[in-house]
Structure formats: C-alpha cells, structure tokens
Symmetry: C2
C-alpha cells in the first residue's frame, strides 16, 4: 500500500515511537501525577520530558506552559474560547480548517465579531489584508501555518509582527507544519501555538498540545481533578494544571516524545527537504498529465508536501476510490474540513484529491502514483 494521506495522520510512525508507547504501557502504565509510587513517578517524568522536547523544538522557555490536549482541535478551542469575550473582534483567514472556523462561528452567538481575510486563488494570504482588518476591539488573530488543502505556507512571521505592533494576541494552527517546518514562538511572536501530536511530530493519535505565552491569561475551559490543590473545589489556576484535568494520555505523550526525539536526531531540515523533493517531483510530473488541474502555489518555497488536484470534472471521491481499489494508493478526497478554502480555489462542488507526503514515502511511490493518475486521466 502506498500511503499519501500524511496530512490526516502520519503513517507509519518510527519504530521507536511504537516501542516507547508499548514500554510505557507495559512497564510503567500507572497514572502520572496522581500517586507517588515509582511507576507513577516514572510516567510523570516521561510526560515532563515530552514537555521539554516541545520547548526545545519551538523555543519555548517554560515547560509548564505546554498543555497536553486530546488533539489540535481541543487546543484550538481552549485558545480561541480562552481569549475571546463578548464584544471582541477576531481576524482569521479563508484558508482555515473547521477547527478554527467553527469555534469562531460558534462564538458569534455570544457577541464575538469576526473578519475572515480572503486568500488569493493559490491560497496565499497577504499580511497587509490582515493589517487592514484590525479594529479597535481586535483581540486575536488566528492563522494556520500551512493550509491542509493547498499546502500553502502562510507568512506567519510577518503576521506575528503585525500582531505584536498592534498589541493583538496571535494564535497559530500548526497542524500541518509542526515537526517539519521551523517554528520559533519568540521570533515569530506567537502567543498561542496549537498542534496535533500525530501528524508531523510522528506521535500517536490521541495527542495534541497548546503552548501558551508566559503571562497570557486564558479563561478556564474544563474543570476536574488535577492531582493538585485537591482540597479545593476551585480548579487550580496554575499551568499546566489549569488546562489539564483528568487522566492524560500518558503512553501517548511518551510516544510523542519519542517522535520528537527522532525528528531532532534526524534533523528537521532533512525531513523537510525529503518531503519537498517528493512534492516537487509529484507536481512536475502531474503537471504534464492532460486533464489534471493542480491547486496551490506549486513552488517548494511557498508550498508544503500537500498537493490537491482534480482530473477533468471527475468527482474527487471517484478518483480516490479508483486509486485505493485499483492501485492501493491511499489519498483523501472531498472537502477537507475547510469549506472557505475550497471556495477560494473554487472546488466547493468537486472537492479535491489530496496527496500528502511523509517522511517514509519514496520517489518510486511517486512515480507509481503518477502512472496511476495517467491511466485514470485517460479513463474518466
């Protein structure tokens, strides 16, 4: 099977990830932060190491500001709802995933205003359009780092500067970039960084995180047991406890740590260069096929290893189905939980077939897929 669906979840994971999850489950599968016995302490230390690795990767100075969540969606909900109150204005973009758009749309019921800045036809956001949208009550700017539909890389450093100059909180959805593209929360002025553990960071499903800038106060989200201040009926205000209640995914977070260590050892730039070369190879060859329409910038400086296309006017689900059934190639069709991004590239009806490349894909797989696309283009 050829797996080109890494933007949904990376597969496979490095061996060390599977092994560390199994070791954590089998050898010290206690509840971290709840008891004081050796196994619980060992699990707690494993989780703390993952916090430290995340800090190293994104230049965060305090591991306690890393909050582990179920997935990126929860991290985005905690951040967006933690900042915005009635009367506030938020700026976001037409390239966002529903995990950003839907919480914002939901908050409109409670008196939050929003502006959605439109991208150009290649999915690119002009930072000046964001700057022009700033109002007196703008409290938050939320932008994806990389579009999950077109792979377009957003100018987050420039948007971060604009946010800082205007005293606005800046939140980045790094769902498609964390673990592959450089992110420095200091240099890029990122106040809230949300990401999943199971995509570019090579960890398991059931992991995600929100990194909160030192001193940024967010409203409470979920309340429960934290193993701290247990005498009090009020949920503690200190981080990470404020946003981590109930039993966390101990072995999952330890597996995420193994994924990050793997990336650091291999060199993130090496992973990125490999993925870029696969994407460019794919784009160059796909361009030559009659009837194929490619979306996005189609340039490695502006596009990650996520490529959306259509073949003539064939339904994207049909093309994906043929790829899966006849060629054993796994891709994702339809609407990619990003309706305004589809509007932007004019594929709201047809959807798009998305090819997303990962660390373990090869050029041979790309060649095999190109042959398949040629066959399909002749037939549909």
């Amino acid at each position: 099977m050829v797996y080109f669906d890494n933007a949904a979840t990376s597969y496979p994971k490095p061996e060390v990830v599977y092994d560390s999850i199994m070791t954590a489950m089998r050898e010290y599968g206690a509840n971290p932060g709840r008891s004081g016995h050796k196994m619980a302490l060992k699990a707690g230390r494993g989780i703390f190491e993952t916090r430290e690795l995340i800090c190293k990767l994104f230049n965060i100075n305090n591991p306690m500001n890393v909050i582990f969540t179920f997935n990126a969606t929860e991290a985005l909900n905690i951040g967006i709802k933690g900042v915005l109150r009635e009367g506030d204005h938020v700026i976001t973009t037409s390239m966002e995933h529903n995990s950003v758009l839907r919480p914002i749309k939901y908050l409109e019921r409670f008196g939050v205003e929003s502006t959605i800045v439109k991208a150009d036809s290649k999915g690119r956001i002009n930072p000046k359009d964001i700057e022009k949208s700033i109002k007196n009550n703008t409290k938050l700017i939320v932008c994806t780092h990389i579009s999950n539909l077109t792979g377009t890389i957003m100018p987050i450093e420039e948007i971060g500067s604009i946010s800082k100059e205007n005293g606005i909180i800046f939140m980045v959805d790094a769902s498609q970039s964390a673990g592959v593209y450089d992110i420095d929360v200091e240099k890029m002025n990122i106040d809230l960084l949300a990401f999943p553990g199971h995509k570019g960071l090579l960890g398991p499903q059931g992991t995600g995180a929100l990194c909160i800038k030192d001193g940024l106060e967010l409203q409470s989200y979920m309340q429960g047991g934290t193993g701290s201040s247990s005498h009090s009926l009020d949920h503690p205000e200190i981080l990470p406890d404020k946003f981590e209640s109930g039993t966390t995914n101990g072995p999952g977070i330890i597996g995420l740590g193994a994924g990050i260590k793997y990336i650091l050892d291999k060199g993130m730039h090496n992973i990125r260069e490999h993925e870029e070369s696969l994407a460019m190879h794919f784009i160059e060859e796909a361009k030559k096929i009659d009837g194929v329409t490619l979306y996005g910038p189609l340039d490695v400086k502006q596009q990650a290893a996520v490529v959306a296309l259509n073949i003539k006017d064939a339904d994207s689900s049909e093309v994906s189905y043929i790829l899966d059934q006849e060629y054993d190639i796994a891709v994702r069709p339809g609407l990619h939980c990003a309706p305004l991004a589809h509007e932007t590239i004019n594929t709201l009806e047809q959807g798009a077939v998305r090819f997303s490349f990962g660390l373990f894909n090869t050029h041979e797989e790309v060649d095999y897929c190109i042959k398949a696309l040629k066959d399909i283009a002749r037939e549909v």
Copy 2:
C-alpha cells in the same frame, strides 16, 4: 511490584489490549472518518465495534449515542455543561470527585445553583436526601456510582427512579464501576453515563466516553472538523459528531474495545467476585492490625474493591512512601481529588492510603501487603 492502584488506572492490561493497540497502530494507523481508503475504513470500523460493545455492556440501543472523549473528566464536563443553564439547579453528593464538583462550582459563576447532599460517615448516600433536595428548577442530578475514596456503592437505581418520577435528568459518573459492576441505562434510568476507558474497562489511557440518552439535547461543547457536513461553518448537530471533533484516539478506542471483549468473554461477574474476595480478605486482615483505621462500609454488598485506611496519625503519604520504597507496593496517598468525601470521613488533614484491587491481583499479594502493614503499624 505489587500494584494496588487500580482505581487510578488498571494495570496491567490484558495482553489482547496491548496487541490490538499495536496492530491498529502498525497495520491500519490511518485517520478514521476522514478519508475513504481501506486503512481509514478499517480504523473506522474498529471504532464502531467499540461503540457497539459499549452498547452491549450498558444496554444502550443506539451506538451513535456513544461519544468518545479524552477521559471521564471531559465526558462529565460535556454532560454537566451541556445540560445546565443560568437559573438551573443541580443536585450532587459529597462523595463526588472533583471532576463533578469543580465543573458545578465553575457554573455557579454563571447563575447555576447547586445542592450537595451529604453522605453518612461510611460514605453512603440516602436517596431520600436527594429527593428532599429537589426544587422547581432542579434540572440535573449527578451521582457517582462508586466512591473513589471509600469504594461505597451508591443506590443509583433508586436515584434513577427518583429522577425519572420528577422529570430530572440523571447523570452517573461510572469511573470506578464501568467494567466491573452492572450498569443498565434503561433499568436504572440513566440519561448520561460518563466513564473512563482505562480503569475497569481495561483500555488504555486517553480514552473515555459519554453515553447520551436518545433524544436528550445537550448544548455544544467543542467545535471543529468532523469529516461530516464539511461545507458548513456550523458544527453538525448529529451524534456522535456533535461531540467528537478533530482526530480521535483510534488505536486507543480499538484497544478499549479489546478490553471490553475480554471482560464479556471472562464474564463481568467473575471479575467482580474476584475483586470482592480480594477486598474482603484485605479488610478482614487489616481490621486485626492495631492502629489501623479503615473507612467505608467494609461489606462487599456496599463496597467495591477500593479500601481507604490510615495507620494511627501517620501522614498517609509517609505510609505510602514506605510501602513503595521498602515493600514495592504501589498505592495512592493524600487527598483523592474528592475533598468533600474526605470531609465526610474526616480525613481532610491526614488524607488516606487507598488500596484498589484489580483483576490481576492475587490473594498472595494481599497477604504480603498485610504483613507490610503490620510492620509499619509497629514502627510509626
């Protein structure tokens, strides 16, 4: 190592649980519900099977009414906040975990009223006290099935009848009972059932669920991508999508399914009887030790395999530390995220040492632990 901390998380898990998680990760680790390729469909089917197993275990008629969550705390937050609005009244008990008490306390800021019914000194709740607390605006009754501190089994069937007669929504926190004690949502009139996957159900950490009675409308909690109605900026209203956004813990849920299958194959009553006999053995022997104070009903009909005690006026953390360091016995000391329950049994200052027995514990381990307690009682 002797592991008597099963109320925090069960350990070890059955081999089949580890194996099914690894198989799901290695062989079909795709993102369920997002793409249509074979691996994603297989992961989706695995998750659906777990929904069906949960239905079988708790007599739920529609698998779509089972919502997978990060843990029981999230399930409790979704249920409590989904029901209660300004002006509503909620009844709960002094035996609840902070995962119930803290969300309720938080909602008081938004005009929700609460009554906390007090248990007797053995942690027992009188259903009549709940009935007497009902007011015109009582919307919800939340009760734990089994106390995580004293193991006291609550009369949830009677409380369910009272709720039904009075048209009040009934929510049960089954964190300490799911997978060991009979729960029938129809017979017990349970409208909302919240539980973790990683305790009695023998699944991994990072899993939990909320079962919602057919037709009960809860307010939206988290919004994001669901892989459904992707064209819409409004989060879908259908279950389970309404409360499942973002990538779920696929391999974890599949592992949870393996845990439930294991329980069904082995017979839940066999597991319960084994745990009861361990707890009774422990209680009988511990009673004889000079200086030991045991809490709770101390009777298998009224108490699960969770036993709290103190030795003279020794700090519970000190006793646990000695058990861990000198005898390699893992228990939990301190306050057990249930401050009012400690008030009820008068251990708010000393805390309590909690011994919680599981499926894989043996009578030999209990005997070894009793010997250790005798030594410690002589020394402290």
